[in-house]
């Protein structure tokens, strides 16, 4: 909450956003978008949102950048430059943005002052969460307990949204019947065939087990430090992407096949909803983890909630890891798994 830091970061963020949308090279735009995401992470950490910053650092700045690179690899890098034309669309866009921005500026006079501890957003439900999370769930990280226990339905449907996104990518890229245009089109920019480099391969191979160990650490320590299921799952998926980039796409696709990935993603969602159903079978409400005290030996209702949160975080991590791998391997190879990045 240091305002000088905020001013500098916000100026840099606005500059990065302006450069990202106006640069005439898609590869440069993807890298600048990664830089923009990292600056956003810094700003959120400075505002106290460490869980959000962790997720954005792994998901937004890590995986999003590599997805943009994958599509630039499969299509073209140039952005067409035109001297005139599209004035109508630019004028329309500018008018719409200015009108919307003007309305929002006018509405911002009603907002509470920034950083006000007595703002209405902090006064109704969230004091309950802050005061009762230790007594109810024995989990110090309030974000994890709210995410997986108090608002557990949201997270379950979010996991199903991730699963649907992975399935949508598969479906969109696999409609073989409507692939018009005859034979498979040659790649736009031929890359160096079979480019291998000992240093990169060795370091990736040496680092990957430690990265996965770190991802499991993040998953397990979600109760006490920033982390949890999403971040751990994304880092696990990112290790597979690292191996796919430094070696060959075929290596990852043959070890972590599409069938394995889909089965794991569904098992992840099954663990989440299965925990809820288990609580239902044991006599309580759906996703009321206190019911698990009946089957876990030596647990009170409070520690049973903590264990329930752990189980659903494992489910979320499995689902997120598999879907990130599916999205990447399909985007970078156009659904065919033949040649990668």
């Amino acid at each position: 909450m240091i305002w000088q830091f905020d001013i500098i970061l916000l100026t840099l963020i606005v500059l990065c956003a302006l450069f990202t949308i106006s640069i005439k090279d898609l590869l440069g735009a993807a890298i600048m978008f990664g830089a923009y995401s990292f600056l956003m992470c810094l700003l959120w950490t400075e505002m106290g949102a460490v869980d959000v910053a962790f997720t954005e650092a792994s998901v937004g700045a890590g995986v999003s950048t590599i997805l943009f690179l994958a599509i630039v690899h499969r299509s073209t890098r140039r952005v067409k430059v035109r001297q005139r034309g599209r004035i109508f669309y630019k004028g329309l866009g500018l008018t719409a943005s200015l009108m919307m921005g003007g309305l929002l500026f006018y509405a911002s006079s009603d907002f509470p002052a920034w950083g006000d501890p007595l703002a209405p957003a902090s006064n109704h439900v969230s004091p309950y969460y802050l005061l009762h999370t230790l007594a109810d769930t024995a989990v110090p990280n309030v974000v994890t307990s709210v995410l997986a226990d108090y608002r557990g339905f949201d997270t379950m449907f979010e996991t199903s949204v991730i699963l649907t996104a992975g399935l949508a990518v598969l479906i969109v890229l696999r409609l073989d019947g409507s692939r018009t245009g005859g034979p498979v089109r040659k790649m736009a920019r031929p890359i160096a065939k079979g480019y291998e480099d000992t240093i990169i391969r060795f370091i990736s191979r040496a680092m990957a087990p430690f990265l996965q160990l770190f991802a499991l650490y993040v998953l397990a320590h979600g109760h006490h430090s920033p982390g949890g299921g999403f971040q751990g799952g994304v880092i696990l998926g990112a290790t597979f992407i690292l191996l796919a980039i430094s070696y060959d796409l075929q290596l990852v696709v043959q070890t972590f096949t599409e069938k394995t990935a889909l089965i794991l993603a569904n098992i992840g969602l099954l663990i989440y909803s299965g925990t809820g159903a288990l609580c239902l079978l044991l006599g309580h409400n759906f996703l009321d983890y206190a019911a698990l005290a009946k089957i876990i030996p030596g647990a009170t209702t409070v520690t049973a909630r903590s264990d329930g949160i752990m189980m659903v975080e494992i489910g979320v991590a499995l689902a997120v890891m598999s879907i990130i791998v599916i999205i990447y391997t399909n985007l970078v190879s156009d659904g065919t798994y033949e040649k990668g990045l």
């Binding site: 480099d197 240093i199 990169i200 430690f210």
Partner: protein
Amino acid sequence: MTALIARLLMVAGLFFFFATTIGILRFPDFYSRMHAAGKGDTLSSLLLLSGLALVNLAGAPLTFDNILVSLKIMAILVFIFLASPTATHAIIDAGYASGIEPWQKPGTSKEGDDDLAV
């Protein structure tokens, strides 16, 4: 005492970051810029993180929690030391494979670059 060493380390780290930025802006071609970026970034991150690990130990008494946090910062340090030079190597190799020519001082002849065509 520990706080003084920590502050010296962090100031040294900041100085190397500054030098890296000037190097990126002022060097004439891609290879020398990547040289400055890779080495300068790694060294300055290492110095800053060491300073942070010591700052953590300086204020509070030496409990197990504090030592654990400093050990975790050291683990990040090891990771950066492994990964950042590899990334620089990857970028420079990619640049060489795309055929970027190294900068020649204007006015010299071009006989001396046979050793690059290995």
